[in-house]
Subunit: 494 residues, 2 copies
Amino acid sequence: MAKEKKAPKPKAQTPKGFRDYFGTEVTERAEMLTQIAGVYHRYGFDALESAAVETVEALGKFLPDVDRPNEGVFAWQEDEDDGKGDWLALRYDLTAPLARVYAQHRNDLPLPYRRYAMGPVWRNEKPGPGRYRQFYQCDADTVGAASVAADAEICAMLADCLETVGIPRGDYIVRVNNRKVLNGVLESMGLNDDGQRDAVLRTIDKFDKVGEAGVRELLGKGRLDASGAYIDGVGLSDGQAEPVIAFLTSKGETAAQTIENLKAAVGDSAIGAEGVAELEQIADLLAAGGYGPDRIEIDPSVVRGLGYYTGPVFEAELTFDIIDEKGRKRQFGSVAGGGRYDDLVKRFTGQAVPATGVSIGVDRLLAALREKGRIGSQSHGPVVVTVMDRDRMGDYQAMVAELRNAGIRAEVYLGNPKNFGNQLKYADKRESPVAVIEGGDEKANGMVQIKDLILGAKIAESASLEEWQDRPNQFEVPRDQLVAKVREILESYA
Amino acid sequence: MAKEKKAPKPKAQTPKGFRDYFGTEVTERAEMLTQIAGVYHRYGFDALESAAVETVEALGKFLPDVDRPNEGVFAWQEDEDDGKGDWLALRYDLTAPLARVYAQHRNDLPLPYRRYAMGPVWRNEKPGPGRYRQFYQCDADTVGAASVAADAEICAMLADCLETVGIPRGDYIVRVNNRKVLNGVLESMGLNDDGQRDAVLRTIDKFDKVGEAGVRELLGKGRLDASGAYIDGVGLSDGQAEPVIAFLTSKGETAAQTIENLKAAVGDSAIGAEGVAELEQIADLLAAGGYGPDRIEIDPSVVRGLGYYTGPVFEAELTFDIIDEKGRKRQFGSVAGGGRYDDLVKRFTGQAVPATGVSIGVDRLLAALREKGRIGSQSHGPVVVTVMDRDRMGDYQAMVAELRNAGIRAEVYLGNPKNFGNQLKYADKRESPVAVIEGGDEKANGMVQIKDLILGAKIAESASLEEWQDRPNQFEVPRDQLVAKVREILESYA
């Protein structure tokens, strides 16, 4: 590298809140992204890759759902001679760049514009356990389609994505709700004061955590929370709070019944009726496409994002149980969410453009698949060709080339070959399934030794079990049968 | 999104030197990276993905081959209450993070450690035409292997990568040189003055541009360059310059002849002899693996990176001709390079660790494949199901679901369906191969119309050609034959 400094040695550390990913952590995620991209593509969505860096001006100096609008991003000022360079920042999501891209290129893009994007985003937040400042997002959005057919399509696509990456039908559910229905409920309650509406919205956002009884308390006089602090209530009477509760609990046995309950909950509010009609239309479109309530259902208890989105909202949950870190059984929970939002492009052009989209949490999905043992269980390392005679590196190189040309992952040992034990330790660390050995005697006889390391490990583990001990785990075969024998062993473990 | 500001509208612009990538630009690159990752993996290299952000301390505040060691990166200071937060920066390559990762995790990593990494890097430099401040790198490195078998392996892997992504044998060559040979030449010349050695090195770096005669002038009295400026020479006599010229031009008909020429050029320098022996060993190992001089050759005229690397250096060039922007025929040139470098980890641990690696310029490779028409020629958009009757969106949704379930890329038109002409314009913009139409009459008769848009475009282009005019480009088929007929048309263009 360049000149060395006399300064003290630098610390070999990732910055706080960042981490490194190794081996299958990288490849399993890449594979999942490829699978999801395949589904997005089949639905007609086009790939978009914008840079990690945007001007702060274009990004907007705000994060959704964050109280401190000017914080949360990594930003710096461009060097310019006059000291007035642009402020640049790392993107904090993939939606803000989509807004900029659509505004910048709108004359060249199709309308509606279906696009998908996948890649890292950055948040300048306090890191915590399992909470990183760089993470992946994997989004699909339709810009410029006012019809809820666009929302229905995204729900169907989300279900297809989950099944494609390995979540079987029955292990997930996509739930759909609608902000307009909630607006209708608020309207029918006669809540026209913005402050009070916002207070009700904030309360509803807590439904996930505090449940129906908790929401009743918070809509009324207030509530003692788990930490012992008293949370002031919105101050509604029990009767006033009733429509909100009716909305949140209106899910019936069938979609038709849920729709009936919602119609009652919104009373004679026009916007509420519009919202219910949209949900009905979404349910009909999904049914026409073959997506029944075993995959996608109308569920007014979905509240995540209701404050952020303007129309339909959706959330995908995995419904199987896992055992959490405290040993308790619980559902795995949400792995994707989205909804309809207006004014995506309005900041730039002054023109409102409707949009709807979804974001899949790939890292949570990967965790779920690992939890279920569907990935990451049995990945072997490469075949290791050992070096018995350092002057015959060409012979070993020839073997490894043959194996690779046959599509078998293989390497020659590249460390100091003096200590053969180190070579086997290396193969062990690499989780190699097979080691290849050719000493002087074998070379003279035209043979090679092939060691089945998986069987070897089994024998070592269960030394008392005769069934293993009787099986040979090392084979001497003619040199020209190297590839065939290695393949045979690998296939026996496939 | 969040609250609107009253401020003037933001400009919808990428920051200077950044750009957006759309559709096949994204997917073709992703596919190439997947193919290269497959080769790296087969060679036993493990994936590593570090964060985009490193501490400036860990990164080192320098770029290779850049005169201004403290510039060139995007950096900012962490917010801390005491104002003394760490300085963070975006990585400028994938090698500096590898050094940090290896130092940080060395007790858990195998030794030698073969790793590959692919992803964007950032340079805070003045952007120019075709020169961006974010671009992809795609690296493989072996850390902790002193043997040149590691270098030979990387050369073989590079050749395999090029063939895997679609550069046939004969259209590329991997050239190998060795910094130690050059050191030997300098030693045999008796050049012990560091300043003069550096001057000779800088001159050699210009061999690509100024050729043999130019290098002679620059090693001697100096040279008038193309812009009319006079470049001072190193001040060697013709006789003194001779060994450098002999080194640069020592390529013979065969590897053996080149080696002989090099042996002569280094005289009795020990380090020079070591370098020549390494090149000989690399040639032997490659021959043993079946990689002949049609794919990889020893070529002492490779000078790129000689100043940076400490042992073998390699470069992959595409050897076919292209027509440049000025209409001149020229070779496509370099698409990958690498070599051996010491002290990768020494900054962190004080311990020298040998390493060697390669970086493939994926964007240049993609440009080459496009130039040769091997990718990007015939990519169609999705099948578009048009909306004749907005009340029957469910019917159209059912069609599009059937097509997608059959693996056919398809979408329903999601814009305002009022103007049917707009729907066909949309299909045109999407480069759709097929449009599906079902009006009220078709619905009543159980039929659908299927429009072959590729044939339609051909007919429109060549209206006078009867052979096209006679062929129908719209078909009415029973509804239950929708998928079969669409597939038939798509397959006829596959």
